[in-house]
């Protein structure tokens, strides 16, 4: 036998060079600097407009006043923020657990999926605001009631992301696992779960934001009942008392919470998929 094979040229391995590295660091700078600069400019413009047109603070407070309120009302607002954080975190965690478990059951059995899917859809299409008063009546603990409302919102994206993901495994790879007589567990562990990760991570990004929305909306509905202390309650309270700067301060905290959730889920997705999935691979131009 002749012509023992040699390796074909690696066409993907781009040579590292100074120019590419410089371009990369420039790009990195731009992805941060550009949005931050735009944001600062917008805040500056806001501050200037309020000052130039003498807009009263009970209509639109200046960013500087909002910052001051955040500082002075810090302790009470932080307590509320922590409540909302806990609510969001727990509802998202439970949504992940419930969504993944039920998604796995759905993927394993068509019959179960067909019988339970209507319930999942009803849960999804009925606005939480409409169910929340009922839940508040049935559940004694306000925190638990809020948790259920926020959970309903985050649960569905995770469920559908998991089901779609588990179904998305390549059919030839499925054949390969059949050929090697993989057990159901091996199939789940080594084929279905990794195949499901991209759509699960996409669902997680959506569900993260939705859990926060669910937590805030639920609290708005429960607001009438009083004794709860999340950021939404602070907003309602401030609105009753016409404390507009405080309202904005609470709003800023909600937004920041949303941004943190977005950054965390984006980071997690990059961590998990970065080394192999198209959606998270960075390409040199």
């Amino acid at each position: 036998m002749q012509s023992i094979s040699t390796i074909d040229p690696v066409d993907d391995a781009a040579p590292m060079n100074i120019e590419a590295m410089a371009r990369e660091s420039r790009e990195k700078l731009l992805t941060w600097a550009l949005p931050v600069a735009t944001l600062l400019a917008a805040i500056g413009a806001w501050e200037w407009l309020v000052w130039a047109y003498q807009i009263p603070h009970y209509l639109i407070p200046a960013p500087s006043l909002i910052a001051k309120t955040l500082w002075t009302d810090g302790p009470s607002l932080m307590g509320s923020a922590w409540f909302t954080v806990r609510l969001t975190f727990w509802s998202l965690s439970l949504a992940i657990i419930g969504g993944v478990l039920l998604g796995a059951v759905f993927a394993l059995s068509r019959a179960v999926e067909m019988s339970l899917f209507p319930f999942a859809v009803i849960l999804q299409v009925t606005p939480v605001v409409a169910i929340a008063p009922l839940i508040l009546i049935y559940v004694d603990s306000t925190f638990a009631a809020l948790l259920i409302c926020a959970w309903i919102v985050g649960f569905f994206p995770i469920l559908s992301g998991t089901v779609i993901g588990l179904r998305s495994a390549d059919h030839n790879l499925r054949d390969l696992f059949t050929l090697y007589r993989a057990t159901p567990w091996q199939r789940l562990r080594f084929l279905l779960a990794p195949s499901a990760l991209p759509s699960f991570m996409a669902a997680l990004k959506v569900a993260g934001g939705l859990s926060l929305i669910g937590a805030v909306v639920a609290e708005f509905v429960a607001g009438a009942a009083g004794q709860n202390t999340g950021l939404a309650s602070r907003i309602i309270e401030s609105s009753f008392r016409n404390e507009i700067p405080r309202m904005f301060a609470a709003l800023v905290l909600v937004s920041m919470l949303g941004i943190v959730i977005f950054l965390l889920t984006t980071w997690a997705s990059r961590r998990v998929l970065g080394h192999w999935h198209e959606s998270e691979i960075r390409r040199d131009q």
């Binding site: 036998m1 094979s5 390796i7 690696v10 993907d12 030839n172 390969l176 091996q186 080594f190 192999w276």
Partner: protein, 258 residues
């Protein structure tokens, strides 16, 4: 023993739903050490026949018998798909490790076998790479290494190199022949290329479509394995013409059918 029947197909048919037969009444005896090509136009049931032999598709009627394995192997039958079919989230060595992992072999226990399989396809240096970092030909080599890692007797390949460029394809052709020869493999190689089938195989099974069936069974009597020189010789052309004519005959017949 080389030359003993290893796969026997007896009047095997396959129908998907209520459509026409994908494979009709296929009878074939394949001997140990044979390098067989299934040659035919697309849609003539080559993949279907191969998957039935692999046990990936149930037969509609007929029987397929595979002689029991005697040697030590985790899995007696390797399969190479038309696409490399690698797990994109796993490194090259983890992809090759998969069949052993599924058979319950530990990572440490498999390490030397995985390394050996990678060496045989010339990919030792790429053990830690991810599939997306490899060229099409290299991915196909990983796929071959994975099929070989369980030390199978039988290797089934479904148009494995159809998507590759000519140069890479001829290199991989030689690799497969070398592996088959060194390990005494029985190979069924599905292709729609007359030249590939002539160069590679000791026997060419020509298939025809609608219904999928064996149209001709030709032996290529030139000593095997063959040299690169033979590929550009008169003898090669003559064999290619003979098989090409047989294939044309089936295509013409099909044309009259319509």
């Amino acid at each position: 023993m080389k030359g003993d029947p290893i796969i026997r197909m007896d009047r095997v048919s396959k129908r998907f739903g209520t459509s026409t037969l994908a494979v009709s009444d296929m009878s074939l005896t394949i001997n140990e050490g044979d390098f067989i090509s299934f040659l035919g136009p697309s849609g003539c049931g080559k993949s279907t026949a191969l998957k039935m032999i692999a046990g990936l598709l149930p037969v509609t009627s007929g029987t397929i018998t595979i002689a029991p394995a005697k040697g030590k192997t985790e899995h007696d039958l390797g399969f190479v798909f038309q696409e490399p079919t690698l797990m994109p989230w796993a490194t090259v060595q983890d992809n090759v490790f998969l069949p052993l992992r599924l058979a319950g072999v530990s990572r440490d226990g498999a390490a030397s076998r995985v390394a050996e399989a990678l060496r045989e396809v010339g990919l030792t240096k790429f053990a830690g790479a991810y599939p997306r970092e490899l060229s099409g030909g290299m991915k196909m080599r990983v796929s071959i290494a994975r099929a070989m890692v369980t030390r199978p007797r039988i290797l089934l390949m479904d148009e494995p190199f159809a998507a590759l460029d000519e140069m890479t394809r001829s290199k991989l052709n030689n690799d497969v022949v070398r592996l088959a020869n060194e390990h005494g493999l029985t190979v069924i190689f599905v292709t729609h290329s007359v030249f590939e089938s002539v160069y590679l195989s000791t026997r060419v099974v020509v298939m025809a479509a609608r219904p999928g069936r064996v149209a001709d069974d030709l032996t290529v009597t030139v000593p095997w394995p063959r040299s690169e020189e033979w590929r550009i010789s008169q003898g090669f052309s003559a064999e290619a013409r003979r098989i090409s004519d047989s294939l044309k005959g089936t295509l013409d017949a099909e044309h009259i059918d319509h």
